[in-house]
Symmetry: C2
Subunit: 205 residues, 2 copies
Amino acid sequence: MVVERLPLYARALALLQYEGQEVVSSAELGERLRVTPAQIRKDLSYFGRFGKQGRGYNVSKLLEELRLILGLDRQWRMALIGVGKLGRAILEYGGFAPQGFRIVQAFDVNPDIVGKELGALVVRDVSELEPALAAEPVDIGIVAVPAQVAQQIIDALVRCGVKAILNYAPIPVHKPPGVEVRPVDPVLQLQRMAYYLKSLAIPTK
Amino acid sequence: MVVERLPLYARALALLQYEGQEVVSSAELGERLRVTPAQIRKDLSYFGRFGKQGRGYNVSKLLEELRLILGLDRQWRMALIGVGKLGRAILEYGGFAPQGFRIVQAFDVNPDIVGKELGALVVRDVSELEPALAAEPVDIGIVAVPAQVAQQIIDALVRCGVKAILNYAPIPVHKPPGVEVRPVDPVLQLQRMAYYLKSLAIPTK
């Protein structure tokens, strides 16, 4: 689907802009992104006419358009649920804020963690999740709780009207239509690669 | 592809085993995993006959078989490149080792980090990467360096004979055939969801 690729286009264009390049062909963009030039032209034509035949795309203009289309021109407010080791790493991760994704609320169940000040946030008890999000809505929920309680947290976020959830818990989840849940699951990626490595029958100790 | 789903089956079975369930039908497994029962039967039949018609699958036996097929019955050795904030979170993440994925070497370029003892590891200078991996090979490389240098690190890993790479750097990478590179990219997932949220035209501040 085109939405899988558009953020990659925006990223490649941002890098080109940073490198000072003003125009880029679909061939060059395709080479950078491992996508065929035909696919790129098709994806972009879906949103209107960008490049001129044989002239390539204006990097800054296309980037600006894509950022608008993707909603990357604004700030998105996020709530983090689960402030254990993983949750803390997510809080400290420097890659979200520059892209417009800000964690503005954090919740945990552990009394040693609840009430702690982390950066600009105070961790609240997860029992306050629903009133807190009613008072101060967020766009996105980040679930970083153990697998056994992930579903109930996701249900609570859905009840709060959250329509987009980034799920770090290693389970597939139930969700109503109209809610997007996307996984971040490095162990799953490793397990898939283990299968590949095994198929190579690499001799290892 | 079946390899995308098999680790999910193994996970669901491990949970069923933990819950004390001895037999599971493809319908129940499908319900848990959001996959059709027909797909499950097809995926599993690909590896030989598991369940008995109308009797369901023996949970422990199927799990054991899947773990063998997937290579989850053994230890995989990993090298981490990049021990900044993200790399440290990866080192401290408790989810890899119980699944058989162990980080046994770590490298960085920052003189403040090189030489540091982190758990059982001493962080080495990235200039030692190739001799170190020649002396003590690993199965998997984890790339947690900034985007600008990710490609050169991946090239170095490939030269060392590493065939599987988990890439946390937010760029698509070039790799020779026969090498698997899988991304872990939460920002990309957020950007895709932002596009979705924008399409809903949710009123936000």
